[in-house]
Symmetry: C2
Subunit: 355 residues, 2 copies
């Protein structure tokens, strides 16, 4: 079968032939339909983050946003033909309580592999095998969009974390502000714009019109905020104080500045993973603003089954035309290099094994 | 009656004679026993924060950590002789939903007064009147310690916020690290050391032995951490990653650096309110550490009835000798200037109307 493999020396990405995997007794064989690409895939392929092959292998099969069809359910409760999406983390031995509790997203770094990211093969191959506890069902009519489940589950986890953190009092958020108009930012914006949690949504970018990302923001009812015109600290005065800020830029200043965009009791969730960066901050204001306004900042990484299931539910609830608006290119396996390139026209690219 | 009043011009603190207050139909008359002093009182008296008199007055009666005895319950359910402690915030008109929900601690700045801090008289007077919904009962045998309820309620609110934020998964904190060995830091350390939440506690200071604060830390089973020897980022390696960090220093670098003292899934609560301060930070590491480790930072200000009640419960559960260890001086009203002075021997000072 064909697979897209990263050889860390180089790094060098190749489409390779590998034997079709044979599922073990406790594994399901899945035929891959589509694999979405996100910013971390680009960083992995560039050699910036992750990319470690599994023990004993010289390459890592990439791809962690997949949807496929069960080809051989082995002894699981799945049936041949079921549409499924795999979760990303796998426990290292010995499994921690986070593995036992199905809360691997909260497990300490070093205690798990991440399929397609580091330490375990991903899903950008014609077939993959997976233990059934890491599969989540996708409705048949969303088979062509199932690669959105994993990134949408990050938005669900962020919502879960924010609402849980505020559950001790009568929090009534109205506005959500997404920092970043990349594929995760726009997907999250779509989620927050179409859900029940917020009345108004905003998305930060730095693009001139006409621009496909600005068009998408406005198509879901969001307001585009140009970071070249409005600093985050000015956001409350120019627009309104945000109750929830969802960061996707990986711009480390945003971990500080985003707090100034919040109203009282607001929550920032951070999702980006920047490298080291030293800079000046007005840290006294950051500190006291957090305190006197009961604000919070929560880091969010990965997600677990309830977040995947919530993402599937959302995927079912929205028109496919909305999801189509996020897909800027679908490529065959041989076009993976094009799928990985990133231009101003790129939103979500997909490698499809159906092409 | 005697009262301690701040005249903002100057600022000038005076012991003045005021008429004994007459309770309105919806008010209780309380005879004051003791009033604790904390760092914000010192800042108010110095003219750094708050200090605004109530509308129409030229002075502010200070003091917000009080315990007293009901002298006239008027129509309330309290009885003459009941020991009580008042909460601090009062709604401005028109009352917000935070007032109606008894969640004034989460109300936006500008929508409330704070007794003894700004906009409403405090409790450092022989008598004060208060609506009964702002009074919390204190057991008779803790009458001489009831001034601890308000500051201890801040530690309770921080615990509440942290545990609520982590309630979505199986969080198992073991270690708590208090930043600062002032009176709030040591009180919180005592709370965390004697409660069920943590197995090990630490307290950051910058003092040489022999020192009364170090002695107190060790007397409750905590470990003293000298900030001159161990930076916060080194804390996990030298001691252990903290699951919970409670900041009381008001040192704005701590709002950033405290995150590096946490282990995975850890929470920092910030309580200090520094002024403006610009400095350099390793902000990329701050950002990515929050994300990859699912860490969080929560600002915490003020507290509400359940936190006061939890603080009362704790006060009852610990030996009075522990509480005595926190009191470095008890002064008569005429000694208020001494009570407000702050030396290396100062922990908690108290103005007592029983002296």
């Amino acid at each position: 079968m064909q697979a897209v493999a990263l050889y860390p020396e180089g790094p060098d990405l190749r489409v390779v032939e590998k034997p079709k995997p044979v599922p073990a007794d406790d594994e399901v064989l899945v035929r891959t339909l589509h694999v979405g690409i996100d910013g971390s895939d680009r960083r992995i392929v560039a050699g910036d983050i992750g990319g470690d092959p599994p023990d004993g292998d010289d390459h890592l099969v990439v791809g962690h946003e997949a949807v496929g069809v069960v080809e051989d359910p082995t002894g699981s409760s799945f049936e041949r033909g079921d549409v499924v999406t795999p979760m990303v983390r796998r426990p290292k031995d010995p499994p921690s309580r986070f593995a036992e509790n199905e809360e691997l997203d909260m497990a300490p770094p070093g205690t798990f592999h991440e399929c397609g990211i580091t330490g375990a093969h991903g899903f950008m191959a014609e077939y993959f095998t997976v233990e059934p506890e890491y599969l989540v069902s996708v409705p048949d009519d969303r088979a062509d969009y199932g690669f959105f489940v994993e990134p949408a589950s990050i938005a669900e986890k962020a919502l879960d974390q924010a609402f849980t953190a505020r559950s001790g009092f009568d929090w009534r958020p109205e506005s959500a502000f997404v920092l970043g108009n990349g594929n995760l930012g726009l997907l999250a914006l779509a989620r927050f714009s179409t859900g029940d949690e917020f009345d108004r949504t905003y998305c930060l970018g730095r693009r001139d019109r006409p621009d496909p990302t600005i068009e998408f923001v406005e198509s879901v009812g969001g307001t585009y905020v140009d970071s070249r015109e409005t600093e985050l600290s000015e956001f409350p005065a120019v627009y309104e104080p945000a109750d929830f800020v969802f960061e996707t830029t990986g711009y480390p200043q945003h971990s500080i500045e985003a707090v100034s965009a919040l109203g009282p009791n607001g929550i920032v969730t951070l999702q980006g993973i920047p490298g080291d960066s030293t800079f000046e901050v007005e840290g006294g204001g950051f500190h006291s603003d957090l305190v006197v306004n009961n604000k919070g900042v929560l880091g969010v990484v990965n997600s677990r089954r309830p977040h995947f299931e919530a993402a599937v539910e959302w995927l079912q609830a929205v028109p496919t035309s909305l999801l189509d608006g996020l897909v800027s290119g679908v490529y065959a396996v041989d076009g993976v290099e094009d799928a990985l390139s990133d231009t101003d026209e790129t939103i979500k690219t997909v490698v499809s094994f159906e092409k």
